[in-house]
């Protein structure tokens, strides 16, 4: 549901059915809503069969990359005699994205159940849920829920009397966007600076503590119990567009929109339906100018592109951007694109871990050049300079933070060039005070 708004008829509530219902937070409340039946069912299945069901369902990672979840699980070594780990990435920090927060706030046991099933399927002796440090409320709710799950035998040495051991530990981050990158997260979990690691080795070979690890996003794991209990065919059937994009997706809609919130729709739903019908369209008297559809790290779409977009992995790529995390930042005609792109660049400059030169220097200089333009001191060559910088920041670093900074800059210059020119030609008043 588009929490805090009621369910819209065009939504397909699966994960968000109980958003806003505090009673669903308790173990008892979750069981009354059908909770933990999927875990019980899963514990009666062979781990490989669960991986098969997830593969068959078409579920893909909801954190941003969209990698097929069942395939990722199948990369975990079998009978290698080593401890395995499941890491749940709850470091939701991608600007525009606030869906994992709601899953943890309202349905903590859905996440615990999904983690428990995944841990059993990949043979993980422990699950670490890494929650960003700023998420104080989700952390408190998750702590209480994990404690309750242990007390009720849903976690521990003998889960529901089956003899299976499933352990879970919550781990609090301390403020660093880069820890949402899975290898940065693993370093942070090990008590290190959250610098991303070079891949390979991939986590399934050498992950956290150097041992086989699967890292999954909160939304991905929360979908697992539904797929186990209702079947792969049901999930696969939730598809209005490309058959490679199945199930439902939570879109966090924010910025210049009448009804911001989390909306859960079937993959393949037109973006127009989401923005105009479900979210109530623009604020009075305003028109749509641009959308960043997948969290701040993806290219900006023009209003025309956005209104013609189908919401699935392939559909958004076809219209010049990416699905990413599903964090949708909406901008109306009052938005100053140069200022907004500068603010995003400033974010990436602040969050760069500074390991790679292209990122450390590139994000900082991108921000400075944009600042110069906003002060009315831009030079005609600055746009080429920004594009040149962006090219050197794309595909050349350990992780994609620097690519993420380049995406809005390049797409912004391509699609909204006249706004940059207006500052450079001094036909628009400076937005920032002079140096």
């Amino acid at each position: 549901m588009g929490y805090p708004h009621p369910i819209h008829p065009k939504e397909t509530p699966v994960l968000s059915t109980h958003f806003g219902a505090a009673a669903a937070r308790t173990y008892q409340g979750w069981v009354e809503r059908g909770g933990y039946a999927a875990l019980k069912q899963a514990l009666g299945m062979a781990p490989g069969d669960i991986v098969g069901v997830i593969k068959e369902s078409g579920l893909r990672g909801r954190g941003g990359a969209g990698f097929p979840t069942g395939l990722k699980w199948s990369f975990m070594p079998k009978d290698d005699g080593k401890p395995h780990y499941l890491v749940c990435n709850a470091d939701e920090s991608e600007p525009g994205t606030f869906k994992d927060r709601e899953i943890m706030r309202w349905t903590p046991h859905a996440l615990i159940e999904g983690c428990a099933i995944a841990a059993y399927a990949i043979g993980a002796e422990r699950t670490y849920i890494y929650i960003r440090g700023e998420f104080t409320e989700p952390l408190a709710i998750m702590r209480a829920a994990v404690e309750e799950a242990y007390a009720n035998g849903a976690l521990g040495a003998n889960v529901f009397g089956t003899g299976t051991r499933i352990d879970m530990t919550l781990h609090r981050g301390a403020g660093a966007y880069i820890c949402g990158e899975e290898t940065g997260l693993m370093n942070s979990l090990e008590g290190k600076r959250g610098n991303p690691r070079i891949k390979p080795p991939f986590p399934a070979q050498a992950g956290v503590f150097g041992l086989p690890t699967t890292v999954n996003n909160v939304e991905t794991l929360a979908a697992v119990p539904h797929i186990v209990s209702r079947g792969a065919a049901w999930y696969k059937g939730l598809c209005l567009g490309n058959e490679k994009s199945t199930g439902t997706k939570l879109f966090s809609v924010c910025g210049h929109i009448a009804k911001p919130g989390n909306y859960e729709v079937t993959m393949g739903t037109p973006m127009k339906d989401l923005l105009v019908e479900m979210c109530g369209g623009m604020r009075p008297g305003r028109t749509l100018k641009a959308v960043i559809p997948g969290g701040s790290s993806v290219p900006i779409q023009t209003a025309e592109e956005a209104m013609d977009t189908v919401l699935d992995y392939e559909g958004i790529v076809a219209k010049g951007s990416m699905l990413g995390s599903g964090g949708m930042i909406v901008m109306d005609d009052s938005a100053d694109m140069v200022y907004q792109i500068w603010r995003l660049a400033k974010f990436y400059a602040h969050e760069s871990c500074a390991q790679c030169t292209q990122c450390r220097e590139g994000t900082a200089w991108t921000t400075k050049v944009l600042e110069r333009i906003l002060r009315g001191e831009g030079k005609p060559a600055d746009l080429d300079l920004l594009l040149d910088l962006s090219e050197n920041m794309t595909g050349k670093t350990i992780c994609v933070l620097s690519d993420s900074c380049a995406a809005p800059v390049v797409s912004g210059i391509q699609k909204f060039r006249s706004e940059f020119d207006a500052y450079i030609q001094k036909t628009r008043q400076p937005a920032l005070a002079g140096s």
């Binding site: 920090s93 525009g96 104080t136 290190k192």
Partner: protein, 168 residues
């Protein structure tokens, strides 16, 4: 304790009694003691309000690390304070989605109402320190702020005075 610099000899150990027991209770959940560094640093900040060099050295000793290593970790993360801050620490999200919804006005109102005046400064009465924070992950509820451990959604300049009343 040999690793404590002489200037911090007055450091009163953090990891004693119940607190040490709480830290040690975490050890079995991880294959290394080093993994308990972030939780240990949270415990220091909870107890003292900030993390001094002497406290870093103490955490290093308890976890079998070096003080320099611990400092490297502490300074990587924005939520750990390496200097004393006001009694209440306020973080205001001003990243793009909130910025579109007026977060900069909220920040200005908070800087003014607290008497802090500028980012990172502590108010003359020692009550508040205000900092800008990058994306608090509640973009649909602009503008979110974090006061100590309290996450407050939908803050507007008009609400600021009333909210601050609750933090003496």
């Amino acid at each position: 304790m040999s690793t404590v610099p002489a200037a911090d000899a007055s450091h009163e150990p953090v990891f004693t009694g119940d607190r040490l027991a709480r830290l040690e209770a975490l050890f079995p959940a991880y294959p290394t003691k080093q993994a308990c560094l972030l939780p240990a640093l949270w415990m220091i900040q909870e107890a003292r309000g900030w993390i001094s060099q002497a406290a870093m050295a103490e955490a290093a000793e308890v976890l079998g690390l070096t003080p320099a290593y611990v400092k490297g970790v502490v300074t990587f993360y924005t939520m750990y304070h390496t200097h004393p801050v006001g009694r209440h620490f306020i973080q205001v999200c001003t990243t793009s989605p909130c910025g579109l919804c007026g977060a900069e006005d909220v920040l200005a109102a908070i800087l003014s109402a607290t008497g802090c005046g500028e980012l990172g400064a502590t108010s003359p009465d020692g009550r508040f320190t205000v900092q800008e924070v990058e994306c608090l992950g509640a973009c649909g509820f602009a503008t979110p702020i974090l006061i100590d451990e309290d996450f407050i959604e939908g803050v507007t300049p008009e609400r600021v005075a009333g909210i601050l009343e609750g933090y003496k």
